[in-house]
Subunit: 284 residues, 2 copies
Amino acid sequence: MHIFLNGQILPEAQAQISVLDRGFLYGDGLFETLRTANGVPFRWAQHWERLRRGADFLGIALPYSSETLRGVAGELSARNRMSDALLRLNLSRGAGGRGYSPRGADKPTLVMTLHPAPPFGAVPPGWRLITGSSRLPAGEPLAQFKTCNKLPQILPRAEPAAAGADEALLLNTQGHLVEGAASNLFWFANGYLCTPPLASGILPGITRQVVFEVASALGLAAKEAIITPEGFLQSEGAFVSLTTAGVAAVSELDGRPLPPSPLVERIGQGFQEVFQHETMKNSS
Amino acid sequence: MHIFLNGQILPEAQAQISVLDRGFLYGDGLFETLRTANGVPFRWAQHWERLRRGADFLGIALPYSSETLRGVAGELSARNRMSDALLRLNLSRGAGGRGYSPRGADKPTLVMTLHPAPPFGAVPPGWRLITGSSRLPAGEPLAQFKTCNKLPQILPRAEPAAAGADEALLLNTQGHLVEGAASNLFWFANGYLCTPPLASGILPGITRQVVFEVASALGLAAKEAIITPEGFLQSEGAFVSLTTAGVAAVSELDGRPLPPSPLVERIGQGFQEVFQHETMKNSS
């Protein structure tokens, strides 16, 4: 694999950073994962905007423009001969002095990698979900950015229960189900498509935004709502949205079944149409 | 500076890791910072025990024994000619596949570095504290370990208000003051030395443990208690405890004064005596 690191495209073995990089020491950074097709990254502008806002919030200067890095993404795709892939963009604050204060760390590290993507297309068969043991802090401003502090998301995927599960859902400190470790959460209730509000402490997913667009085009009423695990189990069907898989129906949570909803299939198809349309060759 | 990395002592420029290390990508790791004097790390066994418990919790296999790494600490001290320093030990899960699941990442990365230590001895003059904007999740199991997910601790040190401040205090999601970004919090109230309980979502600091020992030796009654910022400002004096500075009196929070307490000076002196006694040459 060839990797972009601070201005150079290098073989994987040479793509190395200092052990004093604050990304390594403290998770002091941000990342984005995008799906590409035909070498075209899906929703580049929205991912870039989330990264840019996060970098502003953390006070990390973006060392390259959106245009430059979009060009690099194309180059990586060609060099690695991977046109349908997952593109990962990682920005850290770079090396600095010891301690939490970021003062003096002013040479950010920027890495872009390409990874094989799981099969993509039809809505996956019902996913089995578990509830993770981490608790997300409700109202935490950091939650709106895709930071490199991901232990609360890693742990549920490492717990023994995760062995047979497709994804883990996380509760916030108020006891509400708010998001998946790597996905946003949707369910149907009383004729509405529902999803937790951003203020509950979740990441504003790009696929989540596309789901809203698709639901609107389908004439489905959507709203933000809070939900407990018990309430979720009484919903009229549910799905998660995520970059790697698009829309995935949920068939059970912690071994308890959720009813299938034909609407999940329609939203999934609508998502695929948007994805295919926007990633047609030369669509950029 | 010479650095220990996965079994070798290397010049700083050669101490490099893969950009695919999960420590860098997700903060998937743990660390410890110890104060050394005469080349002797203070409370090595307690720091090691916290690291070991954290590694168990995260499912990361410690690649070296406590004895081996304590020996490396001595070697680093000699190679860098720094006998009074800060020793940092960093353990990450190493490189793995893309995504949060740690499956397949089974070659941990272990780094040890030495850093100049700030002057140490007398209790520092009253520290000016600010309240940071991050919210720690009350009851989160991860809080009991010194993980590499430190953005909630970094941010308050990067906020504009931090410019003139010595340390930032953090609230948990229940609105209680629970710890400093890099310190534990103590205050005096109704004849008691008080500090927040571990269940409030704080790190079990090693210096915090030593403060308990010193208070006990001085005959001071100590207890765990919860406190709001308002309650804290009405206390009879306060201090923070931390590896880098030992015990530091607090003179103000967000510009509002706290009364000085002669007990802080006594605890600080008691701490220094313990530190000096345990780090005498050949005391290991």
